[in-house]
Symmetry: none
């Protein structure tokens, strides 16, 4: 499916269109293949060759191998090379002509006249509609080398880099699709370690043992098997004792926040205090769901509970095990203060996003383990296996449980069953814990590589929150970072390295900084990426 990724990363080297006279049986091309785009007819499903060719052409236009203006081989030539009837080629060309990507120019032959906007940067002026802006196939973006190109606009008319304006609702899509050589965005574990074989094995077992009725509509709370596996996981790893019936399976923490916000809103709570600095993404989700997000400062002990109390907010979103983005672990005294605040009626939304990834010792137990009636706990598989699985879980305080199940029902009737059942097997077989141990070792090496690189390349920077997680944060003392941290991030992206400016995650302005993910990158990439940051910092 993703063969194109194995091709050279430098998309600017476009293979020249073959001369129209290229002999059908040129010795260099095996039978049924063409040098043009390295097409090989054996890859085409029988009877669907036009579909296949149209798809190959679209892909080549999308990733810049066929830039606007390039001429396609004559149908007769390509048909002879691929040993198919000329109608197959004509049909495929016709499809793309109907799409508006190709045009027949009589004597000039068939020419590429339009490309999806995200593909070749700056090729077309995007209109305001997303329909004209085709995002590149996932996975190609980060391997695309054209470093100084501006980031593509994904949906709306937005400036050419994700850093040119205050972040809007599409900011993380814009950052994700911005081409970069080395992606140091936070929030993703080592995806190359995804246990593909174990996943497939578990899926085979699930499919073999599945009752037909399990393929019908199900419990909106999730499958009993996964809810049990999650309850066991939380007992073993997070000190939480929960009955499986208390577990609500959701589509990741993003959905958890949306559902919780809806329930709070219906309960008359319109404000959820957030840590500052704190996750911009989480704030965007809360705000979308009509929760105001007053900021409460975080210091070296965690959230300032006195300031939380002073804010008057009745709910707060916290990341106590490893504060995002500073990495502070909530200290014992603050925990006790927070418990008192909650006992007085405050609701804590505990976002336990990466607590299992603690490097020095076992993570602190979740707040939920101490105060089930006042803590709404949210966790997910995103940092343990992969965000693309879109599976998470919520433990709500008893008074919100029914309302939260209703919210999930009316969101989507519950998560898909098969991935839940596969995941349950991986969790119950110990596979997930084995993987977590492997990840911890690997992530730790990567963290160490990043810290070493920062010491060497960014000597003025202070490192925060490196005891756990998948990312760390650096701040710069006055005078080191001449512009804003968004300028620095933009300069880094122009040099091919993707990072998040700390100011994105601040409501209260403070020292500039960067949030740097290390878990998904090799030590070599990390060293190189941080060196580029050093250059960007000097280059200004």
């Amino acid at each position: 499916m993703h063969r194109s990724k194995e091709r050279p990363a430098d998309r600017s080297i476009t293979p020249p269109a073959p001369p129209a006279s290229s002999a059908p049986s040129a010795p260099s091309a095996p039978s049924g293949s063409s040098d043009f785009l390295q097409l090989n007819i054996v890859e085409a499903p029988a009877g669907r060759r036009s579909d296949w060719l149209a798809r190959e052409l679209r892909r080549a236009i999308a990733d810049g191998r066929l830039p606007v203006g390039s001429r396609l081989p004559a149908t007769r030539v390509l048909a002879a090379e691929l040993r198919v009837s000329r109608g197959v080629i004509t049909e495929a060309y016709q499809r793309l002509t109907e799409d508006g990507q190709l045009a027949g120019r009589r004597r000039g032959g068939t020419v590429v006249v339009a490309a999806p906007v995200t593909a070749t940067a700056g090729a077309t002026a995007s209109s305001t509609e997303m329909s004209t802006a085709r995002a590149p196939a996932r996975g190609t973006a980060s391997s695309t080398a054209s470093s100084t190109d501006a980031a593509p606009s994904v949906h709306r008319d937005r400036p050419a880099t994700p850093f040119a304006a205050p972040p809007g609702p599409e900011i993380f899509d814009e950052l994700r699709t911005a081409p970069a050589r080395i992606d140091l965005s936070p929030g993703v574990p080592d995806l190359s370690a995804f246990p593909r074989t174990a996943w497939l094995r578990a899926e085979r077992a699930v499919l073999a043992g599945l009752a037909s009725t399990e393929l019908g509509y199900g419990d909106p709370r999730g499958t009993p098997a996964l809810r049990l596996a999650v309850a066991d996981w939380l007992a073993r790893n997070r000190g939480i004792r929960a009955d499986p019936d208390e577990v609500l399976i959701v589509s990741g923490t993003a959905q958890a926040l949306g559902l919780i916000a809806q329930v709070l809103h219906r309960d008359g709570i319109r404000e959820t205090a957030v840590e500052d600095p704190g996750s911009l993404g989480a704030q965007q989700h809360l705000r979308h769901w009509q929760q105001a997000t007053p900021p409460v400062p975080v210091d070296e002990y965690g959230i300032r509970v006195d300031a939380l109390r002073a804010s008057g907010a009745r709910a707060v979103l916290l990341t106590p095990a490893h504060q995002f983005p500073t990495g502070v672990v909530l200290d014992g005294g603050r925990r006790r203060e927070l418990m008192r605040w909650a006992a007085d009626g405050g609701l804590i939304i505990e976002d336990d996003y990466d607590a299992e990834h603690r490097y020095d010792r076992a993570p602190a137990p979740a707040l939920r383990s101490l105060l089930a009636d006042q803590v709404c706990y949210a966790g997910s598989i995103s940092k343990l296996l992969a965000p693309a699985l879109r599976v998470g879980w919520v433990l709500a305080p008893p008074r919100y449980r029914t309302a939260l199940v209703d919210a999930k029902r009316f969101a989507d009737l519950g998560n898909a069953a098969l991935p839940q059942l596969v995941l349950a097997r991986l969790m119950e077989s110990g596979e997930l814990e084995r993987r977590l141990r492997l990840l911890r070792r690997r992530h730790r090496q990567r963290r160490d590589a990043m810290i070493a690189a920062i010491r060497a390349q960014l000597p003025g920077a202070t490192v925060h929150g490196a005891a756990a997680g998948l990312h760390l944060t650096i701040t710069f003392p006055p005078g080191v970072c001449r512009g804003s941290d968004t300028d620095l991030a933009a300069a880094a992206l122009a040099r091919g390295v993707k990072v998040q400016p700390l100011s994105w995650h601040r409501q209260i302005p403070a020292a500039p900084g960067l949030v740097l993910g290390y878990a998904a990158r090799t030590p070599g990439e990390i060293t190189e990426g941080v060196a580029v940051l050093g250059e960007a910092l000097k280059g200004g």
Copy 2:
């Protein structure tokens, strides 16, 4: 992990704290163990003894063996008993102190100061909460034979059968979990025909070709591969020409309705007219999302467009290809009337839930194919493969596209990637069309079996909407059905057969009837189930 559950339930029997003077080498305790909490150091993983001890302490506090106020052994004493260095004990105590569960009291030693709330049974009043009502494992419900048992109440305190009160938000969960011998609920295809082997084969290929980055966060609109496959599918099967970029992948039609309702609400539209009779489930979803659902009558030609116009609603939810539940196909004249209504600014939400399942001829093209600017089209895989996959798609009118993508982003950041990629392969390989042909043959036999059984067992009933779909509807002339149709459905359930009363799907009262699914049952089950309906009708 749940070892503690095997202990006596009476948590008031707390082991006494050991006397501070207990001799390090007391003969009763084997080497490396302590009477305190029956600790045995051999259970501790080498090098992680502090972790182990901290976990044991937390567990003991959680389950009440160490109640608040109890004093822990001095570090020196416990270290000697367990034959570990004193630092191991100090470190473990420190952890729990940081958690806020222990506190050092100088001369008083180390004392438990806080315990998790959920631990000791009876500490919290749970009562009417869902946590006390565990739903049966999926797949067991329909095979459970205890026919006269009342349906379990799933979440709230509700009457013992789904038919004893007007349907609330959990009604479909209640019906699903109600035990029955033969389930004739509508809305589910033949799940025993799910292509498990083809699914697994496709998943293997997907996992083999997957780029790691595809396991990260992705495009909220869905994977490019599935959006392309859906665009192709709609072109082949529903006469719709859409660019893949227009396709939004969602978690089934339920989510589609929710997202559309949110977008309409933000656009100032607070009313979506619905067909009457029309799907109760769809109405519940719209109402949850703050859309009023004024009813518009359906006659033998489909929705009465004159009544729609008179209602003043600016949006309408329609099932034109096979009206739910009556099965009427929207007639040509009505289509034209509807087009005029839409051209005047009306918005059509086209729920194309089972159009592909047409038995007599090719289904009528979707309304979307005629009027893309005024039709928001929603389809799903639920009736083609399985509802448990939770995959559907929406084609929005251009003016709502960006808002709908935002709604999906803030709902859940987009569907899970793997099932999308598997599905794309099944759609592009022709597997799904092969399966649809197989299903059509099989469903047709089942439909014929049901019609024959109705003729034989329910001679007074009129059959509606049998030309397509997975269900049919019967109505009874005056005098045939003595009570209400919910009474009849309750009587059938008491005899082990599950059906939906037509009145659930009516806002405007009219003749009693039943909605009967046939696709998921064998002809033998159908014949038997309808015979039971005949008995229930006579038995009253």
